[in-house]
């Protein structure tokens, strides 16, 4: 059946047809027709954020926790520019978003009209693709293609800029299934010959490591299952990037923990000493490799990635397998069949030796709560509830990655590539929308939480019982740490002066506020947070000058890890300072 409908109406119908449940957005002049079309429409739930960056991060949190694309709706100009940080964040971490932005009417585009910005130009390099729709007749097909592009291949954000007159003008709307477009058709399976090579490399390896990343999560739960099967079949130890935590269970004897700058000693040493690295959906990021010329010098490398441009980008690999993680893992498992793999007991004995270094151990004192201990207790007291954890960015994020442990995908939401402070609270809100009955906790720092603290109002409005657990050390801790390590403790502008009273702030928004001042209050505070049937801020006062270890300093190799603070010298060369 087909009938004339307004562009705004076609947009809403298209979203419904795509199965969209939630739209995270904020109204404004250039999207009023769309908001009118959404008015009293029961099929889509609109979550009104307090700032457009919050909309994009909430959509990201929803997408990561549910595996479905997140949808954002914001107005032109400042609406679009505010949302852009979240769009860039989703681009770096390959999160599927469809971002709808209003635009000034086509007749005035380019005239510096009120709230006009070149949204297409600005978003070109932080979206997987973007569109300016000038004809309402193109809207339905564009939206269908946008969802397809956002969710297939390497996922990412797709932006659709819709001028106000296009929202009002009408076009024919056709009922029926979305059209699948043929111009985007990413390769999902690796070639049989390459799989055979991979199988023989894996079977011959004496010191293999599975190095996994966000691609395993993005590929879907099947990829995590197949990863576990491959591990069980080969016995190979598993490490993961920040993005990939949860794909492999942290209670396995073959789990090495996270690798990279703040990874474990055993993970980084295993990478350094391996004779075969199987990279599954990771991208040899600078936070993972450390100094490139010293990275895994004696290993063969197999790289499974759906994005051909990730292959050989920073690290040369011996065998690229371009395809979807789940499909390629299934191909490898098929190929392995009854192949005997090598006995790895010598390799595992060496790894056990490295584990004995106990690189995640931390000092505790009577005077103040060790931040790592707070995370450890939070983990121990919530693990049987299978919580979803989001974070902001900084020391607390690394401590969460090190001391909170994950057993399933889609439970860990963190801004990895872009490193966006202010991500965690809106991401928790988005995740809670997708999982209303789950325990969702934003592990935060006192500085990061203030970057999108206005989203407390969103949680209040929609009765979302998110928990914010602030490790409050009164510093931008990671900045302070780098200043201590590389700028002789000149703490330039890294002190969190004039912090609000977070408990009173919680109460002002209708949340519950809990303050934890010493270890004796820690368990009761966490329990109080869990037991409260509504949003809670926990202001956990922790030791102020704790640094995050282990750490591979900038420009150092995996073998040059600092395990404890007493190895810190306080200065580095200009070459090391110039690294990211």
């Amino acid at each position: 059946m087909s009938e004339e409908r307004s562009g705004a109406n076609i947009l809403v119908e298209s979203l419904v047809r795509q199965g969209v449940e939630f739209v995270f957005g904020y109204p404004g002049g250039a999207v009023l027709p769309i908001y009118d079309a959404l008015f009293q429409d029961e099929r889509i739930r609109h979550i009104l954020v307090r700032h457009e960056a919050g909309a994009a991060h909430a959509a990201e949190g929803y997408a990561r926790a549910t595996g479905k694309p997140g949808v954002v709706l914001v107005t032109s100009g400042p609406g679009a520019t505010n949302a852009m940080t979240g769009v860039a964040d989703a681009f770096m971490d390959s999160i599927p978003l469809v971002v709808i932005t209003g635009q000034v009417p086509t007749s005035v585009i380019g005239s510096d009209a009120f709230q006009e910005a070149d949204t297409i130009g600005m978003s070109r390099h932080c979206t997987k693709h973007n569109y300016l729709v000038r004809d309402p007749a193109q809207l339905a097909a564009t939206i269908d293609e946008a969802f397809q592009i956002a969710t297939t291949g390497r996922p990412g954000p797709v932006l659709i800029d819709i001028p106000k007159d296009v929202q009002i003008a009408s076009a024919l709307w056709h009922d029926g299934a979305p059209q699948r477009h043929i111009r985007y058709n990413p390769r999902e399976r690796a070639e049989a010959g390459d799989i055979a090579r991979a199988v023989s490399m894996i079977a011959a390896a004496e010191r293999p490591v599975l190095y996994t990343g966000g691609g395993v999560i993005n590929s879907g739960p099947r990829a995590a299952e197949l990863l576990r099967e491959l591990q069980a079949k080969t016995g190979a130890p598993v490490t993961s990037t920040l993005m990939g935590l949860g794909a492999f269970p942290a209670d396995s004897a073959d789990w090495l923990g996270m690798l990279g700058m703040h990874g474990t000693y055993e993970a980084n040493m295993a990478m350094n000493q391996a004779d075969l690295i199987v990279c599954v959906g990771a991208r040899f990021d600078d936070r993972v490799t450390g100094r490139l010329d010293a990275f895994a010098p004696n290993s063969l490398k197999i790289h499974i990635d759906i994005d051909r441009s990730s292959i050989n980008k920073t690290v040369h690999v011996d065998l690229p397998l371009v395809g979807d993680c789940a499909q390629v893992l299934a191909q490898i498992l098929d190929g392995l069949g009854d192949h005997q793999t090598r006995d790895l007991s010598d390799w595992k004995a060496r790894i056990d030796g490295w584990k004995q270094r106990n690189s995640l151990s931390y000092p505790r004192s009577e005077d103040a709560i060790a931040p790592q201990y707070a995370v450890q207790r939070l983990f121990e007291m919530t693990r049987d509830r299978d919580p979803i954890i989001s974070t902001e960015v900084g020391q607390h994020q690394m401590w969460a990655a090190q001391h909170f442990h994950f057993f399933a995908p889609n439970r860990w939401l963190t801004s990895g590539g872009l490193g966006t402070m202010g991500y965690g609270l809106p991401a928790a809100i988005g995740a809670q929308c997708g999982h209303p009955d789950k325990l969702v906790i934003d592990i935060a720092g006192d500085a990061s939480i203030q970057m999108n603290i206005q989203e407390m109002g969103t949680a209040t409005q929609y009765r979302l019982p998110v928990k914010v657990f602030i490790l409050n050390n009164e510093w931008m801790g990671m900045v302070r740490q780098w200043q201590e390590l590389t700028y002789e403790s000149r703490f330039s502008n890294s002190y969190s002066d004039s912090l609000p009273d977070f408990v009173k702030l919680a109460e002002a928004y209708g949340w519950k506020g809990i303050r934890i001042e010493d270890e004796s209050q820690l368990d009761a505070g966490i329990q109080g947070m869990i037991d409260h049937d509504g949003p809670v801020i926990v202001d956990c006062l922790v030791a102020k000058d704790t640094n995050c270890f282990p750490m591979i300093p900038s420009g150092a190799a995996h073998t040059e890890m600092l395990l404890h603070g007493d190895e810190v010298v306080g200065t580095v060369s200009d070459e090391a300072k110039a690294l990211v």
Partner: protein, 171 residues
């Protein structure tokens, strides 16, 4: 501290793309955003219904960077195909230039004589100037322009190169 740069080589890429608004900005912007070089870029639509354009890009960089450039281009949704002509065996490349030369007397005669040697065609003539049209490999155009410098060179316009694989098949 010094900033080091690695040795680079010249590559000619042809890129077939959907002929849609913003495609040129998308490609040129990708080069700037990722720090790649563009020495020359030409674009024109090549199908009867104007739906597909062919872009020829001359770039330079270390081999692994050129490889990245190709894959980053392939990643763009409107890009159909990327061919590195330099990697794909013998190919021809041609460029067109318009060159304005002004002068009288012996210099004017000499300019015309050199133009004949280069098979450059005068497409505009006044009593004291020529506009020559010259097609060829970029080096040939470079040499012609160099000779014209002493003979009253006024202005140069060049198209940038287009290239194609030799032989019967499509690249």
């Amino acid at each position: 501290m010094k900033i080091t740069q690695s040795a680079s080589e010249r590559h000619v890429l042809t890129v077939t793309v959907d002929n849609e608004a913003g495609i040129l900005a998308r490609i040129a912007g990708m080069f700037t955003a990722r720090g790649y070089n563009i020495d020359s870029l030409t674009v024109a639509d090549i199908t009867e219904n104007h739906s597909v354009s062919r872009i020829t890009i001359v770039t330079n960089g270390p081999p692994e960077v050129v490889d990245q450039i190709r894959h980053q281009l392939e990643r763009l949704i409107p890009v159909h195909k990327v061919v590195d002509l330099t990697e794909n065996g013998p190919y021809v490349e041609r460029e067109l230039a318009l060159i304005k030369v002004a002068g009288t007397g012996e210099k004017r005669v000499e300019a015309l004589r050199v133009a004949e040697i280069f098979r450059a065609r005068p497409v505009d003539t006044t009593t004291e100037s020529f506009v020559f049209e010259l097609t060829g490999a970029p080096q040939k155009i470079d040499s012609f322009i160099a000779l014209m410098r002493d003979l009253g060179l006024v202005e140069v316009g060049r198209t940038g190169i287009v290239g194609m694989i030799r032989g019967a098949t499509e690249a």
